[in-house]
């Protein structure tokens, strides 16, 4: 069977889980991968828990089902840890990345994870500091690339920058700010 690298993103409506999945997917494609990036749609409401997914492979992807056993889980908002079982289906040897102020060890204990990597980064702090807004999604991409090692850092960063340039045409401070924040998250992520 073909090998897939699967990601599940947890966020709250408005935090950009879907955008993060799309950006991650496009960045992966730039490195030659076949990709899928898709949200799980329900009634969209700001603040409600939402999920988005990625599926990556070296060959064409034929599966069109929800991701049930992700290699990586990304949590954009630590408050979700109280209400959602974010580790559901997480593969042995996989990784979970959480946007939190806590230390990785604390989160690892809290989640009761024993057979997967737990990584943390305070993406909210980075976002508020650099982007002046609580938009942790793109910031988390930096940590994500580092923790998973699924993508080559330079080309992933270049692709994300290109996509952001497309999205925020001419708004240089936003594009540069995002790139700076992504790099900072890459540097600051802590693994347990």
């Amino acid at each position: 069977m073909q090998q897939y690298f699967e990601v599940r993103w947890h966020g709250r409506g408005g935090q950009g889980a879907k955008t993060a999945a799309l950006l991650f997917g496009e960045a992966a494609m730039e490195t030659g991968k076949y990709i899928q990036a898709f949200p799980e749609y329900g009634p969209e409401r700001t603040g409600a828990p939402v999920k988005a997914y990625n599926r990556l492979s070296d060959g064409p992807i034929r599966i069109h089902t929800q991701v049930t056993d992700p290699d990586v889980v990304v949590v954009l908002d630590a408050s979700l840890l109280e209400s959602i079982n974010v580790t559901e289906g997480l593969k042995k040897g996989g990784a979970i990345l959480v946007n939190t102020q806590e230390k990785a060890e604390v989160i690892k204990k809290k989640l009761g994870v024993t057979d997967a990597k737990v990584a943390v980064v305070d993406a909210t702090k980075i976002a508020v500091e650099i982007l002046k807004r609580n938009v942790p999604n793109t910031v988390m991409l930096g940590a994500m690339v580092k923790v998973t090692g699924a993508l080559e850092w330079d080309s992933a960063l270049a692709s994300i920058e290109a996509k952001l340039s497309e999205k925020f045409r001419g708004r240089k401070e936003i594009i540069e700010g995002n790139v700076k924040a992504i790099k900072k998250a890459y540097d600051e992520v802590e693994v347990a």
Binding site: M1, Q2, L22, G25, E26, M29, K33, Y34, I35, Q36, A37, F38, P39, Y41, I61, R62, I63, H64, T65, Q66, T68
Partner: protein, 392 residues
């Protein structure tokens, strides 16, 4: 040719951009809204020459398309579910008048209960309207199929619906290859309508009253024209394969050569099932897949040839006929095989209604079942509702 990342909706909108139709009249509906929203951006940015007509309902959308098509234009629109249902009466009018309009459609369940996710009840409910129907398995195919369908429609004067599965494909970003604009334009060529209301030198009467003395003859002629769609489609699909390297037969067979049993399915589920086939083949099991891509017109001979070589076949229906006799694909497939001397035992699995997730294990279970049917030489359970609570 270039590699891009696009959702099913983006892929269809991009194909529409490259087709550059004369008129697009549309009304938004989830999950197809993006198709026309993105397309209207192309219009606003001057990337197409299309006259975009914003209307107040899907009934008006297709009515405007009919008018534009009678005027001799190349015409497209997009809709889903309730929108297609509201277009229903105009579907027949477009087809009866031989107007090769193409709809980029997203398959979504029909209310009630209200839902925005995938099943095939919308297009299956319109399958007798005289439109060609193509069900796509991924974003690449959605892009390619719109172009092939437009060419086939205009060659036969039969309108076409190309559909993707709601959210599963419409909102899932995938990697695909797109052609250059000029390649698409060369492939579809200039549209030369059989008639045009703007042809003032040759005035005609369009849509006159047609009673007991002629209605039947007109319908018979329409049915005959419809029978030419398969050949025209195959030619267009082969020409497109030369251009793109991607060939889409009306009916696709996957690892069926030596298979004892097969699943007969459509849409994204059929793509997913290929993965299951590979997995089971690794275990030494002789399983295959037949993918129904075109369901109108029915590729009857191809279906007979494909299915009669198996001992057992499981049809997977993403809608029900409310006949207490399974789904439409099941019913029609059984009908097609009635006269065959050698025919498989056929069971039906109605699944995925309202977007219920279909897992690899669900599909593997269907293969388990039909291997059992083949082994026993008889059917224990004719119709199964797969993945619904309350059923075994």
């Amino acid at each position: 040719m270039k590699t891009v990342a696009k959702t099913g909706n983006e892929a269809m909108a991009y194909a529409m951009k490259q087709i550059n139709p004369d008129v697009v009249a549309a009304y938004p509906i989830t999950p197809a809204t993006e198709v026309v929203q993105i397309f209207s951006n192309y219009v606003a940015d001057g990337e197409v020459d299309t006259e975009f007509v914003a209307v107040e309902s899907e009934h008006s959308a297709l009515s405007a398309c009919v008018g534009a098509s009678i005027a001799g234009g190349r015409v497209m629109t997009s809709t889903s579910s309730q929108g297609l249902a509201l277009m229903h009466e105009i579907l027949y009018i477009a087809a009866g008048n031989r107007l090769p309009i193409v709809i980029a459609l997203v398959n979504r369940s029909l209310s009630a209960p209200i839902n925005i996710h995938c099943d095939h009840s919308d297009t299956m409910g319109s399958r007798e309207a005289g439109w060609m129907h193509l069900y796509c398995a991924n974003s690449q195919e959605a892009y390619d199929s719109l172009i092939i369908a437009l060419k086939t429609a205009e060659a036969t004067a039969v309108p076409a619906i190309v559909s993707t599965d709601a959210f599963i494909l419409s909102h899932a970003m995938e990697r695909l290859e797109v052609l250059e604009d000029s390649d698409v334009q060369n492939f579809i060529g200039e549209y030369r309508p059989r008639f045009s209301a703007l042809d003032l030198e040759n005035p005609k009467t369009y849509g006159p009253l047609d009673l007991q003395d002629y209605f039947f003859e007109h319908k018979r002629a329409q049915i005959d024209d419809f029978s030419k769609v398969l050949d025209a489609y195959d030619k267009a699909a082969k020409d497109y394969a030369e251009l793109s390297g991607r060939y889409y037969p009306a009916l696709e067979e996957y690892k069926t050569e030596d298979a004892d049993v097969a699943i007969f399915a459509a849409g994204s589920t059929a793509d997913t099932a290929k993965e299951v086939v590979d997995d089971l083949r690794d275990q030494g099991r002789k399983v295959g897949l037949v993918r129904m891509r075109m369901w109108r017109p029915l590729p009857v001979e191809q279906i007979k040839k494909a299915l009669t070589k198996f001992k057992a076949v499981a049809v997977m229906d993403r809608s029900d006929t409310m006949a207490d006799f399974g789904g439409p694909v099941f019913l029609e497939t059984r009908g097609m095989l009635y006269d065959s001397e050698e025919k498989p035992l056929i069971t039906d699995y109605v699944y995925g209604l309202g977007g219920r997730n279909i897992k690899l294990t669900d599909i593997a279970r269907v293969y388990d079942d039909i291997e059992q049917v083949a082994k026993a030489g008889k059917i224990e359970k004719l119709i199964t509702y797969l993945g619904v609570r309350g059923e075994e």
